[in-house]
């Protein structure tokens, strides 16, 4: 993801990152098992210090400082990362808010337990969706997406608002978070609206969202809508549409005829034909 306020790391900060990771591992144990009691505050304090260093370091060293923090967060337990990051989420410095979210997202990626704990601060992450800095909004949406087993359904509306964000990275991150949610009416409406739009990237994202939601239920409306997308002028949208129909499995049985036609169309892009053939197999499996 595009960095904020930090260039590539230097040698000094690579060494600092290694030291920080060593400290985190020492506190958490070699396999990142739960620390015994007093290790947590130490880890949180280390993470907080590393996070602050990103802003304090000279511009040439910020990349290394950021890498040290993200590396440490990746190996830490979520409660320690939350303790370090939560106070910074309303910091006046963009890079502090951004890296606090990145640290939370990194920790959320590292283990299922961390991802589940991330749900405890979902409300804070949702408030980050309204941040004035686009990179921070994107990071907030991406971190929301890291919540296990899924982001809370009540976060759907603010995420849907971001689908119209002028920064495409923000819209993309919001769509990724939405597609991890349980199927919801607001998400369906947003997808149905976007799939008829002029922007091919948004049509592609909408097709993916419909595929994810359609896979959760037996409703065939998404399949009908997606089937129409097999004629989209953009090959990437056709590829995404065929793949989304395959994701829906048996619920997309109505689209099998269209998919077969695409898979046999000699004028079609080979990748789209392959996607259509795979989708037919998946639907009929």
């Amino acid at each position: 993801m595009r960095t904020l306020g930090a260039g590539p790391r230097g040698k000094l900060w690579t060494a600092m990152a290694a030291a920080a990771v060593g400290l985190v591992i020492a506190a958490n144990g070699a396999n990142a098992t739960p620390p015994a009691g007093k290790g947590k505050p130490a880890v949180a304090a280390t993470l907080a210090r590393l996070l602050e260093e990103i802003s304090l370091a000279a511009p040439a060293d910020r990349g290394g400082a950021a890498d040290a923090f993200v590396t440490a967060a990746l190996g830490a337990e979520m409660d320690a990362v939350i303790d370090a990051a939560l106070p910074v989420l309303d910091d006046y410095r963009d890079e502090q808010r951004y890296y606090a979210l990145v640290g939370l997202g990194a920790a959320g990626l590292a283990s299922m337990e961390n991802g589940e704990e991330l749900s405890e601060i979902a409300f804070v992450l949702v408030s980050g969706l309204a941040d004035g800095e686009a990179t921070v909004r994107a990071a907030a949406a991406a971190t929301l997406a890291a919540i296990q087993p899924a982001p809370p359904e009540w976060a759907a509306d603010p995420l849907i608002e971001l689908l119209g964000d002028p920064n495409p990275r923000v819209a993309s991150a919001a769509m990724r978070a939405l597609e991890r949610m349980p199927a919801n009416d607001a998400g369906f409406d947003a997808a149905y609206s976007a799939i008829d739009g002029d922007n091919s990237a948004n049509r592609s994202r909408a097709a993916r969202l419909l595929g994810a939601y359609g896979a959760q239920g037996a409703d065939i409306k998404p399949a009908w809508v997606l089937a129409a997308g097999l004629d989209d002028p953009d090959a990437a949208v056709r590829w995404q549409t065929a793949t989304a129909l395959g994701d829906m499995g048996g619920a997309a049985i109505v689209a099998v005829r269209g998919l077969r036609a695409v898979s046999r169309d000699k004028a079609e892009e080979p990748a789209v034909r392959r996607a259509a053939a795979t989708a037919v197999n998946s639907i009929l499996d």
Partner: protein
Amino acid sequence: MIGLTRIGFYTFLRCVIGGRRHSADCPVRGFLARIAALIVVTAPLAAGPAQAGEEFIDFEEFTGPRKLAAVEPPLTIGNASFTGGQIVTNVARLRKVDRSTVYGTAHFCSGCQSTITIEFSQPVSNVSFMLMNGRLARPWFEIRDDTGQTVEFRLGSYFGQGSSKLITLPSSGIKKIVIGQTDSVTAFWWQFYIDNLRYTVDEGQQYLVNFSAFVPHDNVPAAPTAFCLSKDNWQPPGLRRSGRSPTGKARWARDDDFAPGNGRPSFRFGGGGPDADNELKGNRRKLYFAGDSRGFHPAAPTYRVRQLVTVIPDETLDADGVADDSVRNLAGEARAYAEDAMTDGIIDLADEDGIADDCSLFHKAHLAETDLMDVVVTRTGPKSVSIRFSGTLDSPLAGPAQVLGAIDWEFTLTLDSSVEPGRWTLSGAHDGFPAYEIYINGTPVYHHDPGAPPYEFARDVRKLLPPLDIAVATTSGDLP
């Protein structure tokens, strides 16, 4: 015009570019010959001032046997050199499309290769040629050039419709073309021919710049939180895949030799811990993604991301310095496989079960969004341009937070032809994973190797997270 309609478009092409050998098929050959001459005369003018001139090769100065027999040494005609096949004349299987002298290869030809390679001593553009299938089957063909351009299509049986095709390659700065079949029987049966090669030799003022990011190994583990849920309970530890059922599903057999840590990938989800056994008993399977399985190469057919642009530093030839419609932002298809695909330690064709979302073998395909990739060309002087390659490509390797774990890069490459020889200068930054490469007209400018496989999330893939890991110090060199 009426005459052209009556004889058909392909007959027209044969008459125009096929030379005298097609004269019997050309009802208005005098008229067509004049048109052909007009095309030849005007083509260099229409193609733009950056092109020196057009060359045309129809092999008519040679006469070969009627059937392919044995491979010939490389055949050089003009700037082009042909390898892998043999010159033949009046081939029986081409009687419907081309009875003249052609260059071909076949499986029964001793020493012939399954591909025909054309190499040019100077970069060329506007390449076109006729490709003809000599097989009864309808094979898929792939044509690759060293600029990264790939054309894939299917030809009909030699006795039916569509057995030949006029191929055009839009790239410029081409120095090598490889023509071959892509279907699975290529290793055993192939027979195809080429004729009527036409190209324009570049004067050298055009530069095709090619940036790619790719995964050198065959597989990459995704983040620990990227998994699929199997529809059925899968094997306990101690079983391994031993084959496939008639429906293509994996079969399992006991293997007491198998144990995590013995060199094969571990089945334990999340790297162990008290809950690992419980998760193993559940239906959660870790995901791996197929890599590109390749080294550094400008014409490699696979990549995670690729950006192409043709620039013209000389302002007198092109005002803005970028060839029209030459900017391309491409994303490769990412294919995820369930953990059972890795029981043999490799992702290969055997793992392609053709069924998505079943959490077994091939599981899911992913196509990244290319709307966050940019190629910006800026003229910096009368004979210099600056190209900024940048982008962020969401990576499914990062699991649910793939926007955080995107492939990120930003390079600035300056080409200056005001000095002799011309110079390029590169600077930039990118993530530490995967591999990155930049070429100018097929000549390497920058390579980054992510390190030796096997890759691990904690050591390698995590480098996709912010910030950018690698600063590319300013380097420069002579333009090719």
